[in-house]
């Protein structure tokens, strides 16, 4: 490693001044990766770009690595610090689907403390009590306790009246509602997308339009209520088309995708590979291509890992009995960098998707080089090759459908709140 790091910070962090030099800055607001300096005081960025290094600042030589805001993972199921740190993720929004659903201020407060100081969890408040989709949870109390958004969890809310009240109530509190887009009537107990693979394997399946149906309804409710609505994972062409139109109309609608849907299609399920059992299920090759196109044309706002580590007790089962989800934190950055290498987005734009936009949706002062933003930084070697190995992962479990895939790009070093980990 070329990177040189000050060995000790004797002064209190609030007093320390750091200057990061010799890095390629991937500023989410910039057009291209460029040279420059990042000045940090305490745990905040004070300036970035073409600025002079103050005489009293300690300098850190980035050794030519790409310096970017730490990734903010908008929607994870577990606080899995080793995996997040491996992946260059400095903050994550924790979904309310925990063993006790996050529908209570006490649980929210506990969740916010789970990662500190070197990792910050921003919990998402359950929209309804017990995530049952019936009665509003104490969203205001949870916001006061640290919740940064409202979420429907793994399911959508089937009752349109309840969903409208969730959106309406959350908008009054200035919180974005993060929803799962699958019409439960259509999706039912399906474990795969209708198509060749599901037919061949004899898996229960639902048509991909279950997603667009859910999105269509929720966009109408967002229009009606004026609420900010984020679709956590959108995976189909029809879904992206609806979101594109809603954005053109000026609605406060955003959406995310995870690398699995960008780089895998439903044929990854062949041989009943439970690591490829996801929710929503992997889609057709056409939908996969549409997902890439939606990233390239700006329809997608967020790329998330949807990190959900699952051990053998959840995955070494018949396909339909296995729990959905993948461990994605460690591969989020490397897989997303494929989008840059393939020319779909610039590195700066990628950082907008991985960091700046999630920060905006959560309303946290991070994911940016703007003065006052949290000094959460990662030092990326974008080209270093490595091979994903499900048996050697930092995560709580190695359930990745990308096992044995060669990838490129690693976060070499992480700074959280002005301090190197």
């Amino acid at each position: 490693m070329v990177l040189s790091i000050p060995t000790n910070n004797k002064e209190s962090p609030a007093m320390s001044k750091l200057a990061i030099i010799n890095g390629k800055l991937a500023d989410p607001t910039g057009k291209d990766v460029g040279g420059g300096v990042i000045l940090i005081e305490g745990d905040r960025i004070v300036a970035a770009g073409d600025v002079a290094v103050p005489a009293d600042a300690e300098t850190i030589d980035a050794g030519g690595l790409v310096v970017a805001p730490g990734l903010i993972d908008l929607g994870v199921f577990a606080t899995d610090k080793p995996a997040f740190h491996f992946g260059g993720i400095t903050r994550a929004a924790l979904l309310p689907d925990q063993s006790s659903p996050l529908d209570d201020a006490g649980l929210i407060r506990q969740a916010t403390r789970a990662g500190k100081p070197d990792f910050w969890v921003h919990p998402i408040a359950a929209a309804t009590r017990g995530l049952k989709g019936a009665e509003l949870a104490e969203i205001g109390m949870m916001q006061a306790a640290g919740a940064r958004a409202v979420g429907t969890g793994r399911q959508w809310i089937a009752d349109s009246g309840v969903m409208m009240r969730v959106l309406s109530y959350a908008s009054g509190l200035g919180l974005t509602v993060i929803t799962h887009a699958e019409d439960s009537g259509l999706a039912g107990k399906a474990v795969a997308t209708s198509g060749e693979t599901a037919t061949r394997l004899g898996l229960s399946h639902a048509p991909a339009c279950a997603e667009a149906m859910a999105i269509a309804r929720d966009i109408m409710l967002a229009r009606e209520t004026g609420a900010a609505l984020h679709f956590r994972l959108v995976t189909t062409k029809a879904g992206f088309d609806l979101i594109r139109a809603a954005k053109a109309e000026g609605l406060k609608v955003t959406c995310g995708v995870s690398p699995a849907y960008l780089f895998l299609s439903d044929n990854a399920v062949t041989d009943f590979r439970t690591f490829a059992r996801l929710s929503p299920p992997l889609r057709s090759e056409d939908d996969r291509k549409a997902s890439i196109a939606a990233v390239a044309d700006g329809t997608v706002d967020v790329i998330t890992s949807s990190h959900d580590p699952r051990g053998p007790e959840d995955k070494r089962l018949p396909f339909a009995d296995a729990a959905p989800g993948m461990a994605g934190a460690e591969t989020l950055l490397a897989l997303s960098l494929n989008l840059v290498r393939e020319g779909h987005v610039s590195l700066n734009r990628l950082m907008t998707l991985l960091s700046a936009n999630p920060a905006k949706i959560l309303g946290v002062n991070a994911g940016s080089f703007a003065p006052g933003s949290a000094a959460d930084l990662i030092f990326i070697d974008p080209d270093t090759p490595w091979i994903v190995d499900s048996t050697k992962m930092a995560a709580q479990a190695g359930n990745t459908p990308f096992d044995r895939m060669p990838v490129q790009g690693r976060a070499r070093k992480i700074m959280k709140g002005g301090t190197f980990l």
Binding site: S194, G195, E196, A198, T199, R200, L201, G202, L203, S204, H205, P207, D271, F272, P312, E313, R316, L317, P318, F319, A320, D321
Partner: protein
């Protein structure tokens, strides 16, 4: 029974000239999709021998599997398939043990993998498995040292059923080339249909899948079948009419409105059978819902119905599969 002749037009399906293990290089029998057409033919040819010996009087024993242990692990209820595998194993001289789900530790929460390890530790020589979940049998097969036979996994596969159906058809019709086979009923939820479509298409038959749209899997063509939604169109000119069982829980308005409406639209009645070829063969994997998917007159028709012959061929096919899959372990020349 007519003599068995393989039409010469199918010579391309015979495959390379192989012997021993090379003839059937599979450790397990999990899915028809794993088999080449000549491998299917090989199993059918092997079963002919057992079909003959099973008819050969009171003593049907052949002790080639003597001293071997066959475990029938049925995680889903079954009467006829379990019985068929048990008789097949016993006729070959194996020690056959049945593990029924209702009495197993599966009910006590043991995982499928743990059950597989347990069966393996008991040094079974061949394991026959049925499970309600697609892919479950392959999951177990990965964890055990002996051959595994899939006796049905979810909606996925039931390979011995397809083989016994193919054997029945071949004995009655002489071959498969150009034969029109209509597979009718709940194709969506049917492992029998999935296995049969792949098997019969591989053997050269023209396969039709006949089902109401709610019971038709999407893109069924890739399994080798042409979809038909109207029974009468699907039966037109058919040489074989293969009916599928309609599970009771599908008749309650979830997939079709009622049993009687299903019978009206898709039931195989004598009138409807008349649309097929005059010598069309009627098949059903059983157990039948008489008066729902098939009327008794058709099911019991002495010449047209091959339903009891299917059961008979089931034992023969299972004997052939048990024999072939254990040849390596038994040290049969060319198979180790």
């Amino acid at each position: 029974m007519p003599d068995i002749t393989v039409p010469s037009a199918q010579s391309d399906l015979k495959g390379p000239d192989l012997t021993g293990r090379a003839l059937f290089p599979h450790r397990h029998l999990l899915s028809i999709a794993d088999l080449k057409p000549w491998e299917i033919r090989f199993l059918l040819d092997e079963a002919e021998h057992w079909a003959k010996s099973n008819r050969g009087g009171a003593r049907k024993h052949d002790d080639r599997l003597a001293g071997m242990t066959q475990i029938n692990a049925f995680f889903e209820n079954s009467t006829r398939t379990l019985l068929s595998f048990e008789i097949a194993g016993k006729r070959l001289g194996a020690d056959v043990v049945n593990m029924a789900a209702a009495t197993s530790s599966v009910k006590k929460g043991e995982t499928l993998i743990d059950t597989a390890m347990t069966l393996n530790a008991m040094a079974a020589d061949v394991i026959v498995i049925r499970h309600a979940s697609s892919g479950a049998v392959a999951l177990i097969a990965d964890k055990v040292d002996c051959p595994v036979l899939n006796a049905g996994d979810g909606w996925h596969q039931h390979p011995t059923q397809a083989l016994l159906d193919a054997l029945t058809i071949r004995r009655r019709k002489g071959g498969f080339e150009g034969l029109i086979v209509a597979i009718c009923g709940d194709v969506l939820h049917s492992r029998v249909a999935r296995s049969n479509m792949l098997c019969l298409a591989a053997l050269g038959a023209q396969v039709r899948a006949v089902a109401p749209p709610t019971l038709m899997p999407p893109e069924v063509e890739m399994l080798g079948a042409t979809p038909y939604h109207r029974m009468d169109e699907g039966l037109e000119g058919a040489d074989v009419v293969m009916m599928l069982r309609l599970q009771n829980e599908r008749m309650d308005g979830a997939f079709i409105p009622s049993a009687r409406e299903y019978h009206m639209l898709y039931g195989l009645t004598p009138e409807r059978l008349a649309i097929a070829r005059p010598d069309a063969l009627v098949m059903h994997p059983g157990p039948m819902n008489r008066g729902v998917e098939i009327s008794s007159v058709v099911a019991d028709h002495p010449e047209r119905s091959a339903i009891t012959e299917q059961v008979e061929m089931g034992v023969a096919i299972r004997m052939a599969c048990l024999d072939v899959l254990t040849r390596g372990a038994r040290g049969v020349e060319g198979w180790s």
